[in-house]
Protein backbone atom coordinates (compact mmCIF):
# COMPACT_ATOMS: atom_id res chain seq x y z
CA UNK A 1 0.00 0.00 0.00
CA UNK A 2 1.20 3.51 -0.89
CA UNK A 3 0.77 6.63 1.20
CA UNK A 4 -0.94 9.99 1.16
CA UNK A 5 1.43 12.87 1.90
CA UNK A 6 0.20 16.19 3.26
CA UNK A 7 3.51 18.07 3.09
CA UNK A 8 3.23 21.57 1.65
CA UNK A 9 5.66 23.83 -0.17
CA UNK A 10 6.02 27.56 0.57
CA UNK A 11 3.96 28.35 -2.53
CA UNK A 12 1.10 26.11 -1.32
CA UNK A 13 1.33 27.58 2.21
CA UNK A 14 0.99 31.11 0.84
CA UNK A 15 -1.90 30.05 -1.42
CA UNK A 16 -3.70 28.53 1.59
CA UNK A 17 -3.19 31.74 3.60
CA UNK A 18 -4.58 33.85 0.75
CA UNK A 19 -7.56 31.44 0.37
CA UNK A 20 -8.30 31.65 4.13
CA UNK A 21 -8.06 35.46 4.13
CA UNK A 22 -10.17 35.99 0.99
CA UNK A 23 -13.63 36.19 2.71
CA UNK A 24 -12.29 38.78 5.19
CA UNK A 25 -10.92 40.97 2.39
CA UNK A 26 -14.20 40.62 0.48
CA UNK A 27 -16.23 41.55 3.59
CA UNK A 28 -14.01 44.61 4.19
CA UNK A 29 -14.16 45.77 0.54
CA UNK A 30 -17.95 45.41 0.49
CA UNK A 31 -18.11 48.10 3.19
CA UNK A 32 -16.07 50.67 1.27
CA UNK A 33 -18.39 53.53 0.21
CA UNK A 34 -17.16 53.48 -3.41
CA UNK A 35 -17.79 49.74 -3.83
CA UNK A 36 -21.11 49.46 -1.98
CA UNK A 37 -23.66 47.42 -3.94
CA UNK A 38 -21.16 46.53 -6.70
CA UNK A 39 -20.93 42.81 -5.95
CA UNK A 40 -19.07 41.81 -9.11
CA UNK A 41 -16.51 44.60 -8.63
CA UNK A 42 -15.94 43.67 -4.98
CA UNK A 43 -15.21 40.08 -5.96
CA UNK A 44 -12.93 41.05 -8.86
CA UNK A 45 -10.87 43.46 -6.71
CA UNK A 46 -10.57 40.88 -3.89
CA UNK A 47 -9.32 38.31 -6.43
CA UNK A 48 -6.75 40.75 -7.85
CA UNK A 49 -5.51 41.75 -4.38
CA UNK A 50 -5.15 38.11 -3.29
CA UNK A 51 -3.30 37.13 -6.47
CA UNK A 52 -0.92 40.12 -6.32
CA UNK A 53 -0.17 39.36 -2.66
CA UNK A 54 0.49 35.69 -3.46
CA UNK A 55 2.80 36.58 -6.39
CA UNK A 56 4.74 39.04 -4.19
CA UNK A 57 5.16 36.38 -1.50
CA UNK A 58 6.37 33.62 -3.86
CA UNK A 59 8.83 35.98 -5.58
CA UNK A 60 10.36 36.68 -2.16
CA UNK A 61 10.39 32.93 -1.35
CA UNK A 62 12.05 32.01 -4.67
CA UNK A 63 9.65 29.09 -5.29
CA UNK A 64 10.32 26.46 -7.97
CA UNK A 65 8.17 26.48 -11.16
CA UNK A 66 6.48 23.22 -10.09
CA UNK A 67 5.47 24.69 -6.71
CA UNK A 68 4.22 27.88 -8.37
CA UNK A 69 2.09 25.76 -10.74
CA UNK A 70 0.47 23.84 -7.87
CA UNK A 71 -0.05 26.97 -5.75
CA UNK A 72 -1.64 28.78 -8.69
CA UNK A 73 -4.00 25.87 -9.40
CA UNK A 74 -5.06 25.75 -5.74
CA UNK A 75 -5.66 29.49 -5.74
CA UNK A 76 -7.66 29.34 -9.00
CA UNK A 77 -9.77 26.45 -7.64
CA UNK A 78 -10.57 28.38 -4.47
CA UNK A 79 -11.52 31.50 -6.44
CA UNK A 80 -13.89 29.42 -8.60
CA UNK A 81 -15.47 27.89 -5.50
CA UNK A 82 -15.86 31.28 -3.82
CA UNK A 83 -17.32 32.69 -7.04
CA UNK A 84 -20.00 29.97 -7.11
CA UNK A 85 -20.96 30.73 -3.50
CA UNK A 86 -20.78 34.51 -4.05
CA UNK A 87 -22.99 34.26 -7.16
CA UNK A 88 -25.49 32.16 -5.25
CA UNK A 89 -25.82 34.50 -2.26
CA UNK A 90 -25.71 37.73 -4.25
CA UNK A 91 -27.63 36.73 -7.39
CA UNK A 92 -29.49 33.49 -6.65
CA UNK A 93 -33.13 33.85 -7.71
CA UNK A 94 -34.43 30.99 -5.57
CA UNK A 95 -32.69 32.37 -2.48
CA UNK A 96 -34.03 35.81 -3.45
CA UNK A 97 -37.60 34.48 -3.25
CA UNK A 98 -36.87 32.83 0.13
CA UNK A 99 -35.47 36.10 1.50
CA UNK A 100 -38.52 37.98 0.16
CA UNK A 101 -40.83 35.60 2.05
CA UNK A 102 -38.62 35.76 5.17
CA UNK A 103 -38.55 39.55 5.35
CA UNK A 104 -42.33 39.85 4.71
CA UNK A 105 -43.06 37.78 7.88
CA UNK A 106 -46.58 36.97 6.58
CA UNK A 107 -48.03 34.79 3.79
CA UNK A 108 -47.47 36.27 0.34
CA UNK A 109 -49.36 35.52 -2.88
CA UNK A 110 -47.56 34.97 -6.20
CA UNK A 111 -48.18 38.57 -7.33
CA UNK A 112 -46.96 39.99 -4.02
CA UNK A 113 -43.74 37.94 -4.16
CA UNK A 114 -43.19 39.13 -7.74
CA UNK A 115 -43.77 42.78 -6.73
CA UNK A 116 -41.58 42.62 -3.60
CA UNK A 117 -38.76 40.66 -5.31
CA UNK A 118 -35.34 42.27 -4.79
CA UNK A 119 -36.71 44.68 -2.17
CA UNK A 120 -39.41 46.04 -4.41
CA UNK A 121 -37.60 46.08 -7.77
CA UNK A 122 -40.01 43.36 -8.96
CA UNK A 123 -39.74 40.87 -11.81
CA UNK A 124 -39.33 43.56 -14.46
CA UNK A 125 -35.87 44.17 -12.94
CA UNK A 126 -34.80 40.65 -14.06
CA UNK A 127 -35.89 41.38 -17.63
CA UNK A 128 -34.23 44.81 -17.64
CA UNK A 129 -31.05 43.35 -16.15
CA UNK A 130 -30.91 40.51 -18.70
CA UNK A 131 -31.63 42.84 -21.60
CA UNK A 132 -28.95 45.31 -20.54
CA UNK A 133 -26.46 42.44 -20.33
CA UNK A 134 -27.37 40.99 -23.73
CA UNK A 135 -27.43 44.39 -25.47
CA UNK A 136 -24.22 45.51 -23.73
CA UNK A 137 -22.33 42.45 -24.96
CA UNK A 138 -23.62 42.96 -28.52
CA UNK A 139 -25.58 39.68 -28.62
CA UNK A 140 -28.99 41.26 -29.21
CA UNK A 141 -30.28 44.58 -30.49
CA UNK A 142 -33.41 46.37 -29.33
CA UNK A 143 -35.82 47.77 -31.97
CA UNK A 144 -38.78 49.36 -30.20
CA UNK A 145 -40.73 46.56 -28.57
CA UNK A 146 -38.70 43.85 -30.28
CA UNK A 147 -35.41 42.13 -29.45
CA UNK A 148 -33.37 40.53 -32.24
CA UNK A 149 -30.15 38.54 -32.34
CA UNK A 150 -27.29 40.53 -33.86
CA UNK A 151 -26.45 39.03 -37.30
CA UNK A 152 -23.00 37.69 -36.49
CA UNK A 153 -22.22 37.57 -32.75
CA UNK A 154 -25.76 36.86 -31.52
CA UNK A 155 -26.55 34.18 -34.11
CA UNK A 156 -23.11 32.54 -33.71
CA UNK A 157 -23.41 32.45 -29.89
CA UNK A 158 -26.93 30.96 -30.07
CA UNK A 159 -25.70 28.27 -32.51
CA UNK A 160 -22.67 27.45 -30.33
CA UNK A 161 -24.96 27.26 -27.28
CA UNK A 162 -27.25 24.83 -29.13
CA UNK A 163 -24.25 22.70 -30.14
CA UNK A 164 -22.91 22.61 -26.53
CA UNK A 165 -26.35 21.53 -25.25
CA UNK A 166 -26.28 18.69 -27.78
CA UNK A 167 -22.71 17.70 -26.82
CA UNK A 168 -23.55 17.67 -23.10
CA UNK A 169 -26.83 15.82 -23.64
CA UNK A 170 -28.87 18.62 -22.04
CA UNK A 171 -32.46 19.30 -23.10
CA UNK A 172 -33.42 22.47 -24.98
CA UNK A 173 -36.22 24.45 -23.36
CA UNK A 174 -37.11 26.92 -26.08
CA UNK A 175 -39.05 24.47 -28.28
Amino acid sequence: MGALQFTTSTSIDYALWVIAGFPFVLGALARLPGLKGRNAGQFAISTCLGTVLWIALIIRADASPHDVEIGLMLLASAYLMYLEIWALISRGYTLGVLVTLFTARRPLGVDEIAARYRRGDGLSWIMRHRMEGLIGTGLVASHGDTLALTPFLGVATARIYRFVLLALGLARTSR
Partner: protein, 160 residues
Protein backbone atom coordinates in the same frame (compact mmCIF):
# COMPACT_ATOMS: atom_id res chain seq x y z
CA UNK B 1 4.72 15.60 -13.81
CA UNK B 2 4.43 13.88 -10.43
CA UNK B 3 2.22 10.83 -9.78
CA UNK B 4 -0.24 13.07 -7.88
CA UNK B 5 -0.63 15.39 -10.88
CA UNK B 6 -1.10 12.43 -13.25
CA UNK B 7 -3.72 10.92 -10.90
CA UNK B 8 -5.53 14.28 -10.67
CA UNK B 9 -5.61 14.68 -14.45
CA UNK B 10 -6.69 11.05 -14.97
CA UNK B 11 -9.48 11.37 -12.37
CA UNK B 12 -10.74 14.50 -14.16
CA UNK B 13 -10.67 12.73 -17.56
CA UNK B 14 -12.67 9.81 -16.11
CA UNK B 15 -15.06 12.31 -14.49
CA UNK B 16 -15.62 14.07 -17.82
CA UNK B 17 -16.33 10.83 -19.74
CA UNK B 18 -18.62 9.47 -16.98
CA UNK B 19 -20.49 12.80 -16.81
CA UNK B 20 -21.09 12.88 -20.58
CA UNK B 21 -22.46 9.32 -20.46
CA UNK B 22 -24.65 9.75 -17.35
CA UNK B 23 -26.06 13.10 -18.52
CA UNK B 24 -27.57 11.22 -21.46
CA UNK B 25 -28.90 8.42 -19.25
CA UNK B 26 -30.38 10.63 -16.52
CA UNK B 27 -31.58 13.77 -18.32
CA UNK B 28 -33.93 14.87 -15.55
CA UNK B 29 -31.20 14.86 -12.88
CA UNK B 30 -28.39 16.74 -14.63
CA UNK B 31 -27.23 18.86 -11.67
CA UNK B 32 -27.17 15.88 -9.29
CA UNK B 33 -25.24 13.80 -11.87
CA UNK B 34 -22.38 16.30 -12.35
CA UNK B 35 -21.93 16.86 -8.59
CA UNK B 36 -22.21 13.21 -7.49
CA UNK B 37 -19.79 11.95 -10.14
CA UNK B 38 -17.31 14.73 -9.18
CA UNK B 39 -17.29 13.55 -5.56
CA UNK B 40 -16.90 9.87 -6.54
CA UNK B 41 -14.12 10.71 -9.05
CA UNK B 42 -12.25 12.86 -6.50
CA UNK B 43 -12.10 10.19 -3.79
CA UNK B 44 -11.65 7.34 -6.31
CA UNK B 45 -8.71 9.12 -7.94
CA UNK B 46 -7.18 9.81 -4.54
CA UNK B 47 -7.52 6.43 -2.83
CA UNK B 48 -7.35 3.84 -5.65
CA UNK B 49 -3.71 4.70 -6.55
CA UNK B 50 -2.78 4.70 -2.83
CA UNK B 51 -4.35 1.24 -2.40
CA UNK B 52 -2.31 0.07 -5.41
CA UNK B 53 0.93 1.16 -3.78
CA UNK B 54 1.42 4.67 -5.17
CA UNK B 55 2.49 7.53 -2.89
CA UNK B 56 0.56 10.74 -3.64
CA UNK B 57 0.79 14.30 -2.40
CA UNK B 58 -2.71 15.35 -1.34
CA UNK B 59 -2.27 19.05 -2.26
CA UNK B 60 -0.88 18.35 -5.73
CA UNK B 61 -3.70 15.90 -6.48
CA UNK B 62 -6.37 18.27 -5.12
CA UNK B 63 -4.94 21.28 -7.02
CA UNK B 64 -5.01 19.50 -10.40
CA UNK B 65 -8.36 17.73 -9.99
CA UNK B 66 -10.22 20.68 -8.46
CA UNK B 67 -8.86 23.24 -10.93
CA UNK B 68 -10.03 21.25 -13.97
CA UNK B 69 -13.28 20.10 -12.38
CA UNK B 70 -14.34 23.48 -10.98
CA UNK B 71 -13.62 25.13 -14.35
CA UNK B 72 -15.85 22.51 -16.03
CA UNK B 73 -18.55 22.90 -13.34
CA UNK B 74 -18.48 26.69 -13.70
CA UNK B 75 -18.98 26.43 -17.48
CA UNK B 76 -21.58 23.68 -17.08
CA UNK B 77 -23.51 25.72 -14.48
CA UNK B 78 -23.50 28.79 -16.74
CA UNK B 79 -24.89 26.75 -19.65
CA UNK B 80 -27.33 24.71 -17.56
CA UNK B 81 -28.87 27.62 -15.65
CA UNK B 82 -28.45 30.59 -17.97
CA UNK B 83 -31.76 32.24 -18.79
CA UNK B 84 -29.94 34.69 -21.10
CA UNK B 85 -28.56 31.86 -23.26
CA UNK B 86 -32.01 30.26 -23.42
CA UNK B 87 -33.38 33.58 -24.65
CA UNK B 88 -30.79 33.55 -27.47
CA UNK B 89 -31.83 29.98 -28.39
CA UNK B 90 -35.49 31.08 -28.40
CA UNK B 91 -34.72 34.03 -30.72
CA UNK B 92 -32.78 31.75 -33.11
CA UNK B 93 -36.00 29.83 -33.89
CA UNK B 94 -37.97 32.96 -34.78
CA UNK B 95 -38.31 34.68 -38.18
CA UNK B 96 -35.50 37.25 -38.53
CA UNK B 97 -34.24 35.96 -35.15
CA UNK B 98 -36.52 38.50 -33.43
CA UNK B 99 -39.35 38.37 -30.88
CA UNK B 100 -41.32 40.84 -28.77
CA UNK B 101 -39.95 41.82 -25.37
CA UNK B 102 -43.32 40.87 -23.89
CA UNK B 103 -43.06 37.25 -25.13
CA UNK B 104 -39.52 36.95 -23.71
CA UNK B 105 -40.61 38.50 -20.41
CA UNK B 106 -43.57 36.11 -20.12
CA UNK B 107 -41.67 32.98 -21.05
CA UNK B 108 -38.22 33.42 -19.56
CA UNK B 109 -38.74 35.78 -16.63
CA UNK B 110 -42.29 35.13 -15.38
CA UNK B 111 -42.40 31.40 -16.21
CA UNK B 112 -38.83 30.04 -16.15
CA UNK B 113 -37.10 32.42 -13.76
CA UNK B 114 -39.95 32.95 -11.34
CA UNK B 115 -42.73 30.36 -11.48
CA UNK B 116 -40.18 27.57 -11.92
CA UNK B 117 -38.34 28.80 -8.78
CA UNK B 118 -41.60 28.80 -6.82
CA UNK B 119 -42.12 25.16 -7.90
CA UNK B 120 -38.56 24.30 -6.80
CA UNK B 121 -39.17 25.98 -3.42
CA UNK B 122 -42.39 23.99 -2.91
CA UNK B 123 -40.84 20.68 -4.05
CA UNK B 124 -37.79 21.20 -1.83
CA UNK B 125 -40.18 21.98 1.06
CA UNK B 126 -38.68 25.38 1.76
CA UNK B 127 -42.21 26.81 1.69
CA UNK B 128 -45.81 25.61 1.73
CA UNK B 129 -48.73 27.04 -0.20
CA UNK B 130 -51.89 28.00 1.70
CA UNK B 131 -55.07 29.78 0.50
CA UNK B 132 -53.65 33.14 1.69
CA UNK B 133 -50.25 32.62 0.07
CA UNK B 134 -46.78 31.09 0.43
CA UNK B 135 -45.34 30.55 3.93
CA UNK B 136 -41.78 29.44 4.72
CA UNK B 137 -41.37 26.09 6.46
CA UNK B 138 -38.89 25.69 9.34
CA UNK B 139 -36.28 24.49 6.80
CA UNK B 140 -36.99 27.48 4.54
CA UNK B 141 -36.70 29.93 7.46
CA UNK B 142 -33.36 28.39 8.47
CA UNK B 143 -31.96 28.80 4.93
CA UNK B 144 -33.35 32.33 4.58
CA UNK B 145 -31.92 33.28 8.00
CA UNK B 146 -28.48 31.91 7.03
CA UNK B 147 -28.56 33.83 3.72
CA UNK B 148 -29.64 37.01 5.55
CA UNK B 149 -26.69 36.59 7.96
CA UNK B 150 -24.29 36.17 4.99
CA UNK B 151 -25.81 39.30 3.42
CA UNK B 152 -25.11 41.20 6.65
CA UNK B 153 -21.53 39.84 6.80
CA UNK B 154 -20.77 40.81 3.20
CA UNK B 155 -22.93 43.97 3.13
CA UNK B 156 -25.11 42.63 0.30
CA UNK B 157 -28.20 44.81 0.17
CA UNK B 158 -30.14 43.21 -2.65
CA UNK B 159 -30.22 39.65 -3.94
CA UNK B 160 -31.17 38.74 -7.49
Amino acid sequence: MTSAMISGAAAFAIYLVATLIFLRLMRDKSAAVVVTIAIVAYFGGLFIPVLKGVTLNFWEYTAVFSCFTLTFLMAFGAIYKSVSLRMLDFLLDHPNHAASKHSLMTRYVAEESFEHRLDVILQSRFAARFPDGFVLTRKGRAVARAVTCLHALFAIERIG
